[in-house]
Amino acid sequence: MTINLSHFSAAVVFALFASVVFGITQRNSTMEQLRYGLYCFALFVGGVFLAGWVMALIRR
C-alpha cells in the first residue's frame, strides 16, 4: 500500500498526531490537555504557513 501525501497534508497529519501526544503527556487535566493540544496544533500549522511565506519571499 502506498500513501501519497503532499508536503502540506503530510505536515498537517504530522501536526495532528504530535499535538495529541504532546497534549496528553505535557498537561494534567483533560481540559488543559485539550487546550495545549490545540495550541501545539496551531503552532505547528502556523509554523508551516510562516515557513512557506518566508521561502516564497526568499525565492522572489
Partner: protein
C-alpha cells in the same frame, strides 16, 4: 544583654523542607508501565487504567508509523554504521512492537529517493520518539507525580 534565641538556620532548613518535593517511591508498576508502554504504544496508560489517553496514544503513534511505512519510509537497522543511521535506529525502535513487526515482515526495507519517502522516514522516527515521551508519562503516572 543576651541575643534573642531565634535560630535563623533552623528556620531556613524548615522552609527548605516545606518547599522540597515529596518523595515518590519506585514501585514495580513504575517500571512495568513504561516498558509495556514502549512495547505497545499507549499500553502503559491502559495498564494504569487511563483508557482514553492510552487509546489516543495508541492511535496516534500507530497511525504515524503506518503512514510512514505507506509513504515508503525506510526502517533503520541497528548496525547502520553511520552515526545518523544509529540515531535513526534509536528513533525507530521507540515504536516497540511495531518496529519489531516491521523488521520481521521486512517492511520499510526500501531505498526510495523521493520527497515522500523522506517524509515517511521522518514519520517513522517521530512515531518512536513520541512513544518514548508517552512511556515516560506512564512512568510519572505510576509514580504518582501526575494524575
Amino acid at each position: 544583654m543576651a541575643k534573642p534565641t531565634t535560630d535563623k538556620t533552623t528556620d531556613k532548613s524548615r522552609n527548605a523542607a516545606a518547599v522540597t518535593e515529596p518523595e515518590y517511591p519506585l514501585t514495580t508498576m513504575a517500571i512495568v508501565a513504561p516498558l509495556v508502554g514502549w512495547l505497545i504504544p499507549g499500553g502503559g496508560h491502559i495498564l494504569l487504567k487511563r483508557y482514553g489517553r492510552g487509546i489516543l496514544l495508541l492511535v496516534s503513534v500507530a497511525a504515524m508509523f503506518l503512514i510512514g511505512l505507506g509513504m515508503q519510509g525506510r526502517i533503520y537497522k541497528p548496525n547502520g554504521g553511520d552515526i545518523l543511521d544509529i540515531l535513526g535506529f534509536v528513533g525507530d525502535v521507540g515504536s516497540g512492537a511495531l518496529y519489531f513487526l516491521a523488521r520481521i515482515m521486512d517492511w520499510g526495507n526500501v531505498m526510495a529517493a523521493n520527497a515522500a519517502a523522506d517524509y515517511g522516514k521522518t514519520f517513522l522516527i517521530v512515531a518512536g520518539l513520541l512513544n518514548f515521551i508517552a512511556a515516560a508519562d506512564a512512568h510519572h503516572i505510576a509514580l504518582g507525580k501526575k494524575p
